[in-house]
């Protein structure tokens, strides 16, 4: 066995941190993807001028560093008189941040479906909605999935930043252990890294499997 001062309790502390990382990632990805689909479809299908303000807003979420967004939101939301825990602020900011990237992915995906294919669908009598569901969604999904997997993995790693506003997620919990046990920083970081990997790996494998299945049909 490895000779270490790390107790089972300490490992449990890390696992709890990982739990928060997972929870924030899941909320940010689910809410961000739903919003992103809404924004992305609007950007792809409505006339350009009408979604200009939305596009501008999403540009801001994409270009301002996430850490600055977190700290600003954490300071300003209480000033607006809304009580929010750091956890809630983290989920909100990460969800908006995710939605901004997801909107671009969705917009690109929808626009990747040739107009002629969509016209063929409509000419068969399919409604706009049926065209979206039966043709655009499955065709765009194949284009969007790799980027979306990348986004998910990226957001999962970006959750490390919410430690700055006081959420004890995986990275923060390992830092706390490191300050307590100053002689084992590398070992603790290895464990934290391993946990990040264990979370990411199934997601990227799932994506690769889907892509392989679709490629077989082409």
């Amino acid at each position: 066995m490895i000779d270490t001062a790390l107790s089972a309790n300490d490992i449990w502390f890390l696992v709890q941190g990982a739990g928060w990382t997972l929870l924030i990632t899941a909320i940010a990805i689910v809410a961000g993807t739903l919003l992103g689909i809404l924004f992305g479809v609007a950007r792809a299908t409505l006339p350009g001028w009408s979604t200009l303000p939305l596009g501008f807003l999403l540009d801001i979420f994409r270009s301002v560093p996430l850490l600055i967004q977190l700290v600003l939101a954490n300071s300003f939301i209480p000033i607006l008189g809304i009580r929010a825990t750091p956890f809630a602020v983290s989920c909100l900011v990460l969800a908006l941040y995710t939605s901004a990237y997801c909107a671009e992915i969705v917009r690109g995906g929808v626009l990747s479906v040739p107009l002629t294919t969509r016209r063929a669908a409509r000419s068969l009598g399919l409604t706009w909605w049926q065209d979206m569901k039966e043709i655009v969604y499955p065709m765009a999904l194949r284009v969007m999935l790799p980027s979306w997997i990348g986004l998910t993995l990226g957001v999962m790693k970006d959750t490390a930043l919410v430690g700055w506003i006081g959420v004890i997620e995986l990275l923060k919990s390992s830092q706390i252990l490191i300050t307590r046990m100053a002689n084992e920083p590398l070992f603790i970081l290895c464990i934290a890294g391993l946990i990040y990997f264990l979370i990411s790996f199934p997601i990227s494998r799932l994506g690769a499997r889907l892509e392989q299945r679709w490629r077989d049909n082409d």
Binding site: A120, T127, N217, D218
Partner: protein, 240 residues
Amino acid sequence: MIEIERVKKSFGSLTVLDEVSLSVNTGEVVSIIGGSGSGKSTLLMCINGLEPIQGGRIAVDGIEVHAAGTDLNKLRRNIGIVFQQWNAFPHLTVLENVTLAPRKVLKMSRAEAEAIAVQQLEHVGLGDKLKAFPGKLSGGQQQRMAIARALAMSPKYMLFDEVTSALDPQLVGEVLDTMRLLAGEGMTMILVTHEMGFAREVSDRVAFFKSGKIHEIGSPQQIFESPQMPETRAFLNSVL
């Protein structure tokens, strides 16, 4: 019956259809020939309401295509259209490509839709490709699938837009055979085509398009043997 009366259509300042009038009777086959950019494809898209028009009217069986209250999705069930690009739905098998609209639009059961689809696919010679994905088919096969897909809706009218011009020469024949079969069965058709021999063979009337106008229209004999207008003659000389 398809009635097209003094239809005007423009994209911005570009006039694409300039007071086009044409009536197509049930059972009739009308071919449209003419140079690139003369508005042939645009006319077909206007007939099933894929494009709005700026003047005149189009009525299909008495239903005004561009009137505000018209249910276009319902109207389009009666009008099959096949485009130059094959436009297969790449994520669906051949069978699923053909059953999609009968199931979603006509609300048929899967079994019912599949029975019709198999029949139509055999009709166009694709009975052995039901489970294949379009990416594995040749251009000619994809185009015949697109024809079967349109026919599965049992349309009263079929519009064909240069369906052979993106195909390798050796695949053109099989698609023309399919259309010849349809014409023989009495399907009402409008076909935009560059295949002059085919137009001459299957059409009841041939219309020559130039600059958004029907420049000359008449029987195949008249258009191909004794065209009245010098522009028609010039066009035919350039393509024959």
